[in-house]
């Protein structure tokens, strides 16, 4: 009897109820909280807000291309089109998918998965979030006031020479603002990376050896190393570009004696590994989701764990496949083409192991599983279309066309974003102690999945026929106009799906059915043994791990024992 009372007390003692005083102090209790769970949720709220915002901008970009300009169709003038795709790219990449799953779910789950009370440096963690928020505000204000039109790649010399737009008589150097914003965001990323690496090395509970870590933690580990080692390169590069804009120095502009190719090398040395920052944590999420709903051990645990590290390492050596048409030497092109194909190996390992996990499983179907399966499907298309871009001759034909845009969206949206959504739905009860509407989540899935393919498949076809990317309009050839039309209709379905999904999540958070069930999906990993939602310091006692994370046979024995114990 007394035991039951104690457990109830802890469950109402969850992290939502801590430090809440008068209503005036409520926002501050979040903004100054060093609790990894609150920080994770704050990242989540801001990122999904930016995701919705940038999706709407994408909708306008697509609408602009519904008909060719020769038919008199113009939604936005060419001068604004450049700003719109820059806005879409910068927000989606720097504010949404780059912090991505590692900022939201990584912050929330890493200490839980390791059996720790918090990350290694909770205050630094809060600083990371502030840097993110500061950088985000700077970027959005900067681009809204000054309409930067360089694309998210800031390729010089265009980015050096493009004019600033004056609004209400004062001129505003939007591009420099964005560069400084990206620099600040980079600091947040680096600090999070260091924090996670130290947490993983120093904060694991008793018995949690490296190879007993859940796979999401493994991917966070690989991701963190990229964040720490690659981000400084882009940080200093963007700063150099900003300096070049405001001072008479020539780093990258040939008119001042600089070298534009140097910029591309420095930018892609970061930005190629960065796509693994975006995708790796979501691979981890899928590796959590599959065994849970299959109720069996994940197939090839060690291969999946090590292939994450392999991706992080290989990711460093293939940056110049973004530069096959810049006039690099043939030898360099050959080396980077060959190295690019190395990535196919760890990627294939993951896909094969994931699908093998479904074999002879006992599958209970949930929205999270559906999103995870769709993730594998979309990501396969993204990965396989990547082979066309690794092979030199086809890569050059497809470079800078709509094909690239479609490929990128298949990996980053159909892949990373679908994975983040799958993870969010999977951990939703744990995070909020509430249940979202399943029907509405399924409906959102159907719209998103259908809309996604309808939007991006036509772009593959246009790109194969050579239509360059970042075009405000296009030649009035039937193939292009039909495909653009289809793609535009697809974008309507897709964005309505996204909006329905965001609505489902918000409604679930505010009005969803309350639950305190600790382990609703019957998962074998440590994070599900905390209270729902977790208490301030996560676990009621010091945890000890005695088995592998996905050892379902052992997990079922434990459950039997505790049931038998409960009956007595």
């Amino acid at each position: 009897m007394s035991k039951k009372k104690a457990s109830q007390a802890t469950e109402s003692n969850n992290f939502f109820n801590q430090h809440t005083g008068k209503w005036t102090t409520f926002p501050m209790s979040w903004l100054t909280s060093t609790d990894h769970k609150r920080i994770g949720l704050m990242y989540g709220y801001s990122m999904f807000f930016f995701f919705g915002l940038a999706a709407l901008i994408g909708l306008i970009i697509k609408l602009q291309k519904m008909y060719p300009a020769s038919s008199g169709w113009e939604i936005i003038p060419p001068s604004l089109y450049g700003s719109f795709f820059t806005l879409h790219g910068v927000i989606m990449i720097f504010l949404f998918i780059l912090p991505g799953a590692s900022a939201v779910l990584g912050n929330f789950l890493l200490p839980l998965q390791l059996g720790a009370k918090d990350v290694a440096f909770p205050r630094v963690n809060l600083l990371s979030f502030w840097l993110y928020l500061g950088g985000a505000i700077l970027a959005v204000v900067g681009i809204l006031l000054g309409a930067a039109d360089t694309g998210w790649t800031f390729t010089p010399p265009y980015s050096v020479t493009t004019k600033t737009i004056s609004i209400f008589g004062f001129s505003f150097d939007s591009v420099s603002w964005m560069l400084v914003a990206a620099f600040i965001l980079g600091w947040g990323t680096i600090l999070t990376g260091i924090n996670f690496i130290v947490t993983i090395h120093r904060m694991r509970c008793k018995g949690m050896t490296l190879f007993r870590m859940p796979l999401f933690s493994w991917t966070l580990y690989a991701t963190s190393w990229i964040q720490v080692l690659a981000t400084p390169v882009v940080g200093i590069t963007l700063l150099m570009l900003a300096i070049e804009r405001v001072m008479p120095v020539g780093f990258f502009d040939p008119a001042k004696g600089g070298d534009p190719i140097l910029y591309q090398h420095l930018f892609w040395i970061y930005s190629h590994p960065a796509v693994y920052i975006m995708i790796l944590p979501t691979m981890g999420l899928v590796s959590e989701i599959l065994p849970t709903y299959c109720q069996r051990p994940i197939f090839g645990y060690k291969s999946i764990a090590l292939s994450s590290c392999a991706l992080a390492i290989f990711g460093y050596f293939i940056w110049a496949h973004h530069m096959f048409t810049t006039g690099m030497s043939d030898f360099a092109n050959a080396v980077f083409s060959l190295l690019t194909f190395l990535v196919a190996i760890p990627t294939a390992i993951k896909v094969f192991n994931w699908s093998a996990t479904l074999y002879k499983a006992s599958i209970s179907f949930q929205p999270a599983l559906l999103f995870a399966i769709a993730y594998v499907f979309n990501f396969m298309i993204g990965g396989l279309t990547g082979m066309f871009l690794g092979s030199l001759s086809t890569s050059i034909h497809l470079h800078d066309t709509e094909f690239i845009v479609a490929h990128f969206h298949y990996t980053m949206f159909g892949g990373a974003a679908f994975g983040l959504i799958a993870g969010t739905l999977h951990y939703f009860p744990k995070m909020f102690g509430r249940i979202y509407s399943k029907g509405s989540a399924y409906a959102a899935f159907v719209l998103m999945f259908v809309g996604f393919h309808a939007t991006y498949v036509p772009m593959f076809i246009m790109g194969m026929n050579g239509l360059p990317r970042r075009y405000h309009t296009y030649p009035d050839i039937p193939l292009f106009s039909n495909m653009q039309f289809a793609s535009t209709i697809g974008s309507w379905i897709l964005v309505s799906g996204i909006m329905l999904l965001l609505f489902t999540l918000v409604r679930g958070i505010l009005k969803g059915e309350v639950t305190t069930e600790r382990n609703p999906w019957n998962s074998s990993t440590l994070e599900w043994q905390t209270a729902t939602p977790p208490t301030l310091f996560n676990f009621e006692q010091d945890m000890e791990v005695t088995r592998d994370p996905y050892d379902y046979p052992a997990f079922r024995l434990e459950q039997k024992k505790s049931k038998a114990g409960g009956k007595k």
Binding site: K360, F377, I396
Partner: protein
């Protein structure tokens, strides 16, 4: 096949493309069918107790070897086709390509220059060598029907230029795009390559050489239209009244009124010779209302300037 193949490279590159399509389609379909069947076959209802398979080393090795072998072929095919696009035959005709925001210029060995309005005229079945030079930002020279693409970089005087080459196999007109984002009018930086039968090309080229020597004697006056394309005016200004990045030049006449912004203040001026001259050499002093001050000052000889002005007034 729905892709236009019009150069010696196209067929080989498309075969590599098809090979990768075949491999991709096989794995995509096989894995997807496998996953979906598993979801149905091993649902909780049908299969209440899962079989606990932890992994299988042989399988892991097999699915490391499969991608290694297949991607090796992809790399090899990609490389052998690529290297052909880099080795220019000695007998290739050199046509210099200049690019700027937002125009193309093609310069032939005889000194003939063609702008975006005329495009690139070449003979069929003959190799053409194209050194690429940009006067401002990075552009990219792309002819999808030939499967060639190369960035056009701004380089200091005397530096080694990027280049491309092709041998067209079909007579006809094909699109030339700028593939690297280069500002507001990026999507309008389109021109054509006209592939002519050899004999027809020879005739055209001889004619052009003759015209060129007579043009040199009439003071270049008749060249206004040509200068309009070659100096890049055509990249921003229409001649038919369509509004583009710059104002349309249709109906420009001496004595007509025009609203301009001078030092931030709106005023109405009468178009005269000195206004037109100033609009070419210092274009942003009197800015036509509603446009952004982005036009670069034009380097023109007196003769060229007058030829251009005469042409503009004739529109």
């Amino acid at each position: 096949m729905w892709l236009l193949e019009a150069s010696t490279f196209a067929k080989d590159i498309d075969n590599t493309f098809l090979f990768i399509v075949a491999v991709s389609a096989f794995f995509l379909i096989a894995i997807t069918v496998f996953m979906i069947s598993c979801i149905f076959l091993y649902s909780k209802k049908r299969n209440a107790t899962p079989t606990d398979v932890h992994g299988n080393t042989t399988l892991e090795i097999v699915w490391i070897i499969i991608p290694v072998v297949l991607t090796s072929f992809m790399f090899y095919y990609g490389w052998i086709d690529y290297i052909k696009t880099r080795q220019v035959p000695d007998n290739a005709m050199e046509i210099k390509v200049d690019a700027g925001m937002w125009w193309w210029k093609f310069t032939y060995p005889n000194g003939l220059e063609q702008g975006s309005d005329q495009g690139l005229t070449v003979p069929v079945n003959s190799p053409i060598y194209l050194p690429l030079h940009s006067v401002d930002v990075v552009h990219s020279f792309s002819i999808p029907a030939f499967r060639i693409k190369m960035d056009v970089m701004p380089k200091p005087e005397g530096a080694k230029l990027n280049y491309s080459w092709f041998e067209a196999t079909k007579v006809g007109d094909f699109d030339i795009y700028c593939a690297e984002y280069c500002g507001i009018n990026h999507a309008q930086m389109i021109t054509k390559v006209h592939v002519l039968p050899k004999a027809e090309f020879e005739k055209w080229y001889q004619q052009a050489t003759n015209d060129l020597s007579s043009a040199n004697t009439d003071g270049g006056k008749s060249n206004g239209k040509k200068l309009f394309a070659l100096k890049g005016c055509i990249g921003c200004h229409s001649t038919d009244g369509t509004k583009r990045v710059g104002p349309s030049l249709k109906g420009l006449s001496i004595g007509s009124n025009r609203k301009v912004v001078t030092a931030g203040k709106l005023r109405t001026i009468q178009i005269d010779q000195s206004y037109l001259e100033q609009s070419l050499t210092k274009p942003n002093i009197d800015l036509v209302e509603g446009f952004t001050p982005i036009m670069p000052p034009q380097q023109l000889t007196d003769q060229e300037r007058q030829a251009l002005i005469d042409y503009l007034l004739s529109l």
